[in-house]
């Protein structure tokens, strides 16, 4: 008894407190509180499942199989989403189209992020003439509305990349092209954000210390400064996926994007306005899937922003 009292009495004040949370745990707590973001993440997961697990139920040749005797059939039991203008099953095409659309979104953002970080980091870190030149180019590209730039670039590069076969599936070369075009016309905002981060971070003492110990510029940029500006980059990249999927949809809708028979949610809508009245299922399902994807990514991005960077609460 006596010893027990003694034990309680000697408990250290620090031991009574819960262990401090790491930055990641704090971010996760803030993220969890953002209900819409959690729902968004869930829906997004389901959409990925739909596109990738759906492939287990339909083969790609089925998705591209056309039967003109079945053209523009309304949704029935055997074709739950109906059939398109040449009798292809729309359900199967939304599955395979979804794969392409989602992958285009992810890969385009990969390019966007690499370009944005590279330009922003170099401009912000080195400053001076390099900064001036890079920022003028960035401004020049921001000066033209994105959709115009996309159209001109798509026209410029169309047909330059041959079809390719990856893992037994043939992809239209236009898929790669669209990834490059979307990535290449959307990096400017990120570049500006990264540059602003670098401009302020490079004045810190840890950069001075790194320089004093003879660390190379490359190591300072990528190992010392970049990790400190990761929050806005992650947020911009997340929202960038939504934008890239929308861009793909716009450009394919205009017939300048991914070429059939490769389906994407965007090119399934190409020409659908001619069947507005007679076959609404033609445009409704792909359109709805794009909306759901973009919406859930936007909610997710909003949640990530709140979690990683609680100070910046913008639109």
């Amino acid at each position: 008894m006596n010893s027990e009292v003694l034990r309680i009495a000697t408990i250290n004040a620090d031991e009574l407190e819960t262990p401090p949370l790491s930055l990641g745990q704090l971010a996760w707590r803030r993220f969890r509180r953002h209900k819409l973001a959690v729902i968004g993440a869930g829906v997004l997961l389901l959409l990925f499942l739909y596109a990738f697990a759906g492939a287990l139920f339909f083969s790609e040749s089925y998705a591209n199989h056309n039967d003109t005797s079945l053209r523009l059939d309304a949704p029935t039991y055997s074709h739950p989403f109906g059939t398109d203008t040449i009798g292809r099953d729309i359900l199967a095409r939304t599955v395979y189209g979804g794969q392409i659309s989602l992958l285009i979104g992810l890969f385009a953002v990969l390019i966007e992020t690499s370009c944005g970080i590279l330009v922003g980091a170099i401009a912000g870190y080195y400053g001076g003439l390099v900064d001036n030149i890079l920022m003028r180019i960035t401004e020049a590209m921001l000066n033209i509305p994105e959709i115009f730039l996309l159209i001109v670039m798509a026209k410029f590069l169309s047909g330059k990349i041959p079809d390719m076969t990856i893992m037994g599936r043939t992809f239209s070369g236009s898929v790669v092209l669209i990834v490059i075009i979307i990535g290449g016309t959307s990096w400017m905002y990120l570049a500006r954000i990264v540059r602003a981060e670098f401009l302020s971070l490079k004045e810190n003492d840890f950069v001075l210390a790194a320089r004093a110990t003879g660390t190379s510029n490359l190591r300072i940029i990528f190992l010392h400064i970049l990790p400190n500006s990761i929050a806005p980059i992650v947020v911009t990249a997340t929202l960038g996926v939504a934008n890239a999927i929308l861009s793909e949809a716009y450009i394919s809708f205009l017939g300048l994007g991914v070429q059939p028979p490769t389906a994407t949610w965007g090119n399934m809508l190409d020409g659908a306005n001619n069947y507005l009245d007679s076959a609404p299922w033609l445009w409704f399902f792909p359109g709805l899937l794009i909306l759901l994807t973009v919406l859930s990514i936007n909610f997710l991005g909003d949640g990530i922003r709140d979690a990683l960077d609680p100070r910046s609460r913008t639109v």
């Binding site: 819409l36 003028r136 180019i137 401004e139 020049a140 000066n143 033209i144 509305p145 959709i147 115009f148 159209i151 001109v152 670039m153 026209k155 410029f156 939504a242 929308l246 949809a249 716009y250 809708f253 205009l254 809508l269 659908a272 306005n273 507005l276 009245d277 609404p280 445009w283 409704f284 359109g287 709805l288 794009i290 909306l291 973009v294 919406l295 936007n298 909610f299 609460r313 913008t314 639109v315």
Partner: protein, 345 residues
């Protein structure tokens, strides 16, 4: 201030130069301009060679760019292909306001081609800009005054949906509901394509009726960012000391919201509108295509498809110039409205 404005204009010049060079290079594989000029008939080889020389396409790229920029009336060009430049050039270059002639509408000056379409686009775009700004003020102020209420959350969710919608999906959906379904149900329905019913003619009523759906579609997309912006600036202003002062001296709620808060909260929106305005010139490419609206956006699409480089280049350069000018105007207007802002010369 004057020095600041002059400096900004001077900075715009190298920017426009970079833009024009990049675009000019991108234009080079737009299509076969000579096939475009020939129309449906196949161009004979002899004609091809002659047209190539006439358009200056036999020249290296940088010479073509110089001719486009400053014209070629100061030099002689070789039209008959004998290697001797004998004919005086006629182009004056875009620096002297000559954007060249359209290849599709043969011989028609580019500016005239664009000018014909511009009013249609401005009509559509300005209407939707007005709808968006007015609506965004209503919604933004309402949400700000009832922050975190059920209505605020509901409005936020709706705005997010609108913001995430591809514009063609809104367009198709609204066309289906207000034109197809309304017609089926025997209700008065809206027209879907064009600017007016050819049987009735281009009357004000017809144009207004045809504008409803395109304006609706475009407004929904940009509604979210505007109203969220107003909501956040309004919230910021409502937390200021002078609002508390106004409250404590017993002003009515209306006075506080509409006179003291709104005046200051609406300042930042000037920037957003100012930076958005020049993009209206280009029109909404997708919207104009779906609703078959004869504006500059559709003009751009049609002429890109047929490789009409002078017109495409003309539209893009006009937008670029407008963007730069509007940026400067926005900054100046903002400094004029908000005396706290000073630009060093």
């Amino acid at each position: 201030m004057t020095r600041y404005i002059i400096r900004r204009f001077l900075q715009g010049i190298p920017l426009l130069f970079i833009i024009s060079v990049v675009l000019f290079v991108l234009m080079m594989t737009m299509g076969d301009p000579i096939a475009t000029m020939g129309g449906r008939s196949i161009t004979r080889q002899a004609d091809r060679v002659r047209l190539t020389r006439q358009l200056g396409l036999d020249k290296p790229l940088y010479v073509q760019y110089i001719y486009w920029l400053v014209g070629n009336d100061w030099t002689k060009v070789d039209l008959d292909g004998d290697g001797v430049a004998e004919t005086a050039g006629t182009r004056r270059g875009i620096l002297r306001g000559d954007f060249g002639t359209s290849l599709v509408n043969r011989g028609e000056p580019v500016l005239q081609v664009i000018w014909e379409r511009l009013p249609n686009t401005l009509l559509l775009m300005l209407a939707s800009e007005v709808v968006v700004v007015l609506g965004a003020f209503l919604v933004g102020i309402y949400s700000a005054l009832r922050q975190y209420s059920a209505w605020d959350h509901f409005i936020t969710a709706l705005l997010f949906i609108g913001y995430s919608m591809p514009i063609f999906f809104i367009a198709l959906l609204s066309m289906y509901i207000f034109a197809v379904l309304f017609k089926r149900w025997g209700l008065p329905y809206l027209p879907t394509v064009g600017m007016f019913d050819p049987q009735v003619g281009k009357t004000t009523g017809q144009v207004l009726l045809h504008m409803v759906l395109p304006v609706l579609s475009m407004s929904i997309v940009s509604f979210a960012s505007y109203s969220r912006y107003i909501r956040s600036t309004m919230l910021e202003v409502l937390g200021q000391d002078y609002i508390r002062t106004a409250k404590s001296k017993g002003l009515t709620r209306q006075d506080i919201i509409f006179v003291h808060a709104l005046k200051n909260a609406s300042l930042p929106i000037v920037t957003v509108v100012g930076l958005d305005l020049p993009f209206l010139l280009g029109g909404a490419v997708v919207t104009e295509r779906i609703f078959a609206w004869p504006g500059t956006g559709r003009l751009f699409l049609d002429h890109v498809a047929r490789g009409d480089m002078p017109v495409v280049m003309g539209i893009l350069m006009l937008i670029s110039v407008a963007v730069i000018i509007f940026q400067i105007i926005t900054d100046v207007v903002y400094a004029w409205l908000d005396p706290r802002i000073r630009y060093e010369a």
